[in-house]
Symmetry: C2
Subunit: 335 residues, 2 copies
């Protein structure tokens, strides 16, 4: 079985965006009541909406996608906690319905109702609802709910600890994933995402978060941002700072996915990062949608790169399935 740990519902029915547009328009009338109106989306609409993902699974030979709401649309910086809660519940409910409709193809991971300046404690209830009631196996945690202003404390700050306690109690990991950028310096998928990955890794390297939470698990997507390319820099920084060697730092706690869209990049990832810390992921249908004229295949068909990488078959199996089962233990009940 091949598990893609990184897929987003980027193809949701337009009714979802209509709700969001209405919600954003409503922010201009702060005196109006803050009700959460229902969404009218049929099962047939949902079946139709995930056809692209199903076709990619079938074409690429993958089995199941760990599926979460569209990352760039989380936009935690818009509105307040009520805005974010209503929006998040709808997004997660749709993921739940897709997973129920196609239980062999999708397993849910939730968005959180994070809000700039608001404690992440307020996301615990939604995490519990999604895991306990909807059968989700993890969450996407935004280290920068401000959308590019970076004014929340680092992920290693005690600010986040109550939320981590809930993750540990539920035995679910988080993918560290920012959302849209409202900072004109940062293109979302071309800068903000990768910067957040790099930033999170260095935060983990410089603090003792995983001494405090030995079973806390974080997936850094997009191949770990800049980290594998600068593996020597990070090894040297850890050494200069008398921090643990990187494989010890990562061992049970920090994982990179394979969302790196060319063979040379995936080859480097495999060459330097311990194979037990790599999870297969494609980010489909996601950041890059085109076909690479050099290969004739989709840029984000990352399974091809993993298949072609010079690694042992045992390691390939771990990357394609085994590591995901360890990082997301609740997936066993779903598959």
């Amino acid at each position: 079985m091949i598990i893609d740990c990184h897929g987003h519902f980027t193809t949701a029915p337009k009714e979802l965006q209509a709700f969001r547009d209405e919600q954003i328009a409503g922010l201009k009338q702060p005196a109006e009541p803050r009700t959460k109106r229902g969404l009218t989306i049929t099962d047939d609409q949902l079946r139709e909406a995930v056809q692209p993902q199903l076709k990619f699974q079938s074409d690429r030979g993958t089995d199941v996608t760990i599926f979460s709401p569209r990352a760039s649309a989380m936009a935690h910086h818009i509105g307040d906690l009520t805005t974010s809660t209503h929006w998040t519940e709808h997004c997660n409910d749709l993921i739940y319905r897709v997973c129920e409709l196609f239980p062999k193809n999708f397993v849910g991971v939730c968005q959180l109702p994070q809000t700039p300046g608001v404690t992440p404690d307020t996301s615990i209830a939604e995490l519990k609802r999604c895991v306990n009631e909807l059968g989700f196996v993890g969450c996407n945690l935004n280290p920068d709910p401000s959308g590019g202003m970076w004014n929340a404390p680092p992920l290693t700050d005690k600010h986040w600890y109550p939320f981590y306690e809930a993750m540990v109690e539920l035995d679910v990991p988080a993918m560290v994933h920012v959302s849209a950028s409202c900072n004109p310096n940062f293109h979302a998928t071309g800068a903000h995402y990768l910067n957040a990955d790099t930033t999170a890794f260095m935060q983990f390297l410089t603090a003792d978060l995983f001494k405090d939470f030995p079973t806390l698990r974080m997936i850094i997507p997009h191949g770990g941002g800049a980290v594998p390319f600068h593996w020597g820099r990070y090894r040297g920084l850890a050494q200069d700072m008398k921090r643990p060697p990187l494989p010890d730092l990562m061992r049970d706690n920090v994982f990179f996915d394979t969302c790196v869209y060319h063979q040379a990049g995936v080859d480097l990832l495999m060459k330097v990062v311990p194979h037990e810390n790599i999870l297969f992921g494609s980010e489909m249908v996601g950041a890059v949608r085109g076909i690479d004229p050099e290969t004739g295949h989709y840029y984000d068909d990352t399974k091809r790169y993993v298949d072609a990488a010079a690694i042992s078959d045992g390691d390939r199996a771990r990357i394609l399935e085994g590591n995901a089962r360890k990082v997301y233990p609740r997936i066993a009940k779903r598959l």
Copy 2:
């Protein structure tokens, strides 16, 4: 001749830091006059201070270093334009003196008196002084003078255009280089530097800056941040956005250095990035000071990685010398 395009005076005599400490302490007495007191540093002190760099040049077989003030100490976010101007002039004057003492070993690149919220026009006078009077061949341009708040306009914004006009008129390039981070999310050398590199590349990719300034040249240090590792992502993003192919985008305008501290990283850089857009650089004495136990050599001895890379001798010569002469044409008068 081997030209290292990226060296900082990280070993300056302690009198320089004493000036800075005094200057920062003075910011707490805003009523006091803002005089720029002189620095008393002898030529012998300067000769002594650059012994580490000279020894590394000799040990590693490099000839000349394009030398600029310590990047993390620029700290444009401290104080105001007067603070930054006094500090910058002293830092640049020391670089000038080192270059005069060792004209075969060092060529100067200047820091700029950038200040958050102040137009970069105010840096033009110092650029001209350094180039016309001190014989410098380029500058370090900080895309985020706030030190991690990222509240300046992108590098492609007209905000920067008058400064670019001065660069073009003087025929000098800029290395895009941030300084210390006062944002607790961003470790300076482990996150902020690389994020800035990645961010700048994506800004260049998405705008027509080099149509407006066909001869403007920007060096993105640290191997281009995350870009080579995610070369497929950038190729795909450019394609999706109907932007030029990356080699066309970079050709005469965007260059990466080789400050990547392991063989596998440099190999990837050489594999994907056009060789005419790579300049040899080591960042010494800089971000990582240790010896790699896997090789027995300094992490930042990047010449070893370039020497071992599978590229033609012609390309190696271009990377080690020829490209730097093209990007920094004023170097010809100095060497």
